[in-house]
Amino acid sequence: MSDSRLLQPAPAPLLTLMDLVVDIPGRGDGAPLNLDIRAGQCWGILGPNGAGKSTLLHTLAGLRPPRRGTIRLQGQPLGQLPRRRVARLLGMVFQDHQDGFPATVLETALIGRHPYLRPWEMESAEDHQAALKALRQVDLAGMETRLIATLSGGERQRLAIATALTQDPRIFLLDEPTNHLDLHHQVAVLDIVRRAVAEGRSAVLTLHDVNLAARYCDHLLLMYPGGEACWGTTREMLVPNALERLYGQALVTGEVEGMPVFFPRTR
């Protein structure tokens, strides 16, 4: 193990996309995606509404089959791995949360331990500790017994992130993680993601805020409305022309603290 790591400077990819075409019903094939997501990388997916960003994340999570191509998770075909194993490696935060029944905040964070527990097993003290720690990380400490129906949109979103943290996966797949969050909590949540990535995990997130993506992601995947896509390091991808074409919106470009910033041009 250690020999091969010495020979290979780049860590083995956690997630490999080979000629991947996602299946968006009623839509033609998009450009096939060929990329490796490695430990320590944070990938941002940018694109206009309806470009298929969420569908791609769901496909990467193994929740829907791709139209073509394959996804490998640590070298093994994703579709052939048991769901329980996948759930220990991939943690997904969804855009919407279905809360059909009443549940408390702590219970909701604790379901993140599900892939680690055997059928008859109850959550242990360590599982509770992990859930409480995750709740502290997202600023929900002290709200453990609150019912989820009483949470605000932003608090519910942070709880979903706490559930994913409790799940403790190698790869985080985050669909609009900053949705409903105020400015402080947007930065706080992305800081959590950055720390997780620094620990050797990886993250793939869809974002609408180009400037946050520029600051937090080291790689970007741009998904155009026509189905084309391009990807690379953030520095390569943040070209004003490309972004203007991506969103169909003229931009004003500036620079703050040595980083490019983009604003929509308004009349």
Binding site: H58, A61, G62, L63, P82, R83, R84, R85, V86, A87, R88, L90, G91, M92, F94, H97, Q98, D99, G100, F101, P102, A103, T104, E107, T108, I111, G112, H114, P115, L117, P119, W120, M122, Q167
Partner: protein
Amino acid sequence: MSRPALVLPILLGAAGLSLGIAVALGSVPLTPTETLAVLTGGGEPLHRTLILELRLPRALAAFATGGLLAVAGALMQVLLRNPLADPYVLGLSGGAAVGALLSMLAGLGMAMVSGAAFAGALLSTLIVFGLAHGTGSWTPTRLLLTGVVVAAGWGAFISFLLAISPTTELPGMLYWLMGDLSHAHSPWPAWIVLVVVVLVAMPLGRSLNVLARGPLQAAALGVAVRPLEWTLYGVAALVTATAVTMAGSVGFVGLIVPHMLRLVLGNDQRLILPASALAGGILLTLADTLARTLIAPQQLPVGVITAMLGVPVFLYLLYRSR
């Protein structure tokens, strides 16, 4: 945290008490000491016959039926992620009723009526879930709507059967439709199904908790959603069919018992499922005792009692909860 640990022992105690009340009350009321004497192997011969051959089998049948109905409701509510789901809303009991009434019309014996009810419940399940599945995905709303429409169809068929039936058959049919335990003499099949189902469902409890958060979230947390949904559906159909076969259509137990327990205990299925089995059993045992003593020597259909008890209690809990 101490609440869950206390609930099951309390319910177990209440279950014993409800069975005790059921065997003590009746046209010949017995004192607690007389009842206890019979249950410990002594007592007068008349009391022994009364309890061991008449009241105890019926009380046990009522208990098992109530438990089955409550468990069926609890499972279907998770499957559909809708607190309004229950075997009756989904048309399962309607199918059973049509089967039972058809065999009554044909003049078949009680055993055939039970068999036909069982077949009708399973047929209805197949129709509802088969149609709701269709070509697309299995959305809870579509399933619930299909169930409601199929139930309405069975309802019309039941009215048709009642309209063409000879008047001599009508009272028996109406009693069956309202739920009646006076023909339930062998409680053991229902007990076996109840115990097996609770034992099978308990280890699935945590997966059900996750499924209650939606199928995508459940799949993302490692639940094999499709197999679990089919298991739930099969088990709920079997449980409902067994209950309907025992007692005809008893309404409200499957809807009210899990709902009441959720309001008090939260939504951990590992607790809700066994608690539903016990609380449903208690409710139907007491309801059946009322049904046969309230206007004795005449008997009421037990479904009338569950509805009259269940509706106000449910409305009160709903009103109080917000």
